[in-house]
């Protein structure tokens, strides 16, 4: 229980940091804190493999992408004030409403919960072997199709950012001083 409270507080502080810190780099580091805390939470839930993936893929690869773009764009801090005052009020209300509604419903009907033995029994499900078993048997079709999805991501990155061939050639000429 204590672990959970500490982890949640860290996670929420990190998340609040992401949406309030002016410097994008600070926000990104704050997000890393949230992601890493979440990885630890996975461990408390016996999902060890997912915790590793969370650190490697999320806190690792995805965040590097973020930092890379932040550095590339040399983004300065933006004013946290949104353009329209009403937009901020709407944002507050929506967020509060959503949190309230969902949390209220979550507490309305407390669920019969597994005890410690069940938790440790579930340990088998959190390992790489169990996940691999499920991934390549029950979910193999989804696994293949996520490949197509990632290919779409690659196509998007390439076709949106790639510059015209002529323009690239021109830039190269300029760079080489010809």
């Amino acid at each position: 229980m204590l672990t959970f409270v500490v982890l949640s507080v860290l996670m929420i502080v990190g998340a609040v940091g992401v949406i309030t810190l002016k410097q994008p780099v600070h926000a990104a580091l704050s997000l890393v804190a949230t992601l890493l805390t979440l990885a630890v939470t996975y461990v408390t839930l016996q999902a060890h493999f997912l915790a590793a993936i969370q650190v490697i893929v999320y806190a690792g690869a995805i965040m590097v992408l973020f930092l890379f773009v932040i550095m590339l764009l040399n983004i300065q801090g933006d004013q946290p004030q949104p353009h329209f005052r009403w937009m901020q009020i709407v944002a507050y209300l929506t967020a509060l409403l959503a949190a309230g509604a969902i949390a209220a419903t979550a507490f309305l009907s407390p669920r019969e919960l597994p005890n410690a033995e069940l938790m440790s029994e579930a340990l088998a499900g959190g390992g790489a072997a169990a996940i691999g078993e499920a991934l390549f048997n029950d979910f193999v079709l989804a696994f293949q199709l996520v490949g197509v999805l990632l290919l779409t991501g690659i196509i998007g990155a390439v076709s949106l950012v790639q510059r015209k061939a002529t323009q690239t050639a021109k830039d190269e000429r300029e760079l080489s001083g010809v």
Partner: protein, 100 residues
């Protein structure tokens, strides 16, 4: 005693924070980071539910969410690079041209 509801409440709070960030930030990269918070709120839910339901399904689902998030970030950042290239800033401010 730690219950599933604790995790669901944590997920709800994180989701609300992400939602606020998404609606109020002007910097596009910060908006995308808010989306990541939303996805992590969902991951809290999924992993906790999976554990309390004792199912491998949920873990695999979480794995897929992480993979799909990676593709989303790639597409989003590519778009935002374009916004930056065309407007000189990567915020929502210049994106008001069509509103006449």
């Amino acid at each position: 005693m730690l219950t599933l509801n604790h995790f669901l409440a944590l997920g709800a709070i994180l989701f609300a924070i992400g939602l606020y960030g998404l609606l109020s930030r002007r910097n596009l990269v910060a908006i995308l980071m808010s989306v990541e918070i939303l996805l992590n709120a969902i991951l809290v839910n999924v992993v906790a539910i999976a554990r309390f339901n004792d199912q491998a399904q949920g873990d695999v689902f979480a794995l897929f969410i992480i993979a799909i998030a990676a593709a989303e970030v790639a597409v989003g950042l590519a778009l935002f690079l374009n916004v930056f290239r065309l407007n000189g800033v990567a915020t929502v401010d210049p994106l008001r041209r069509m509103k006449e």
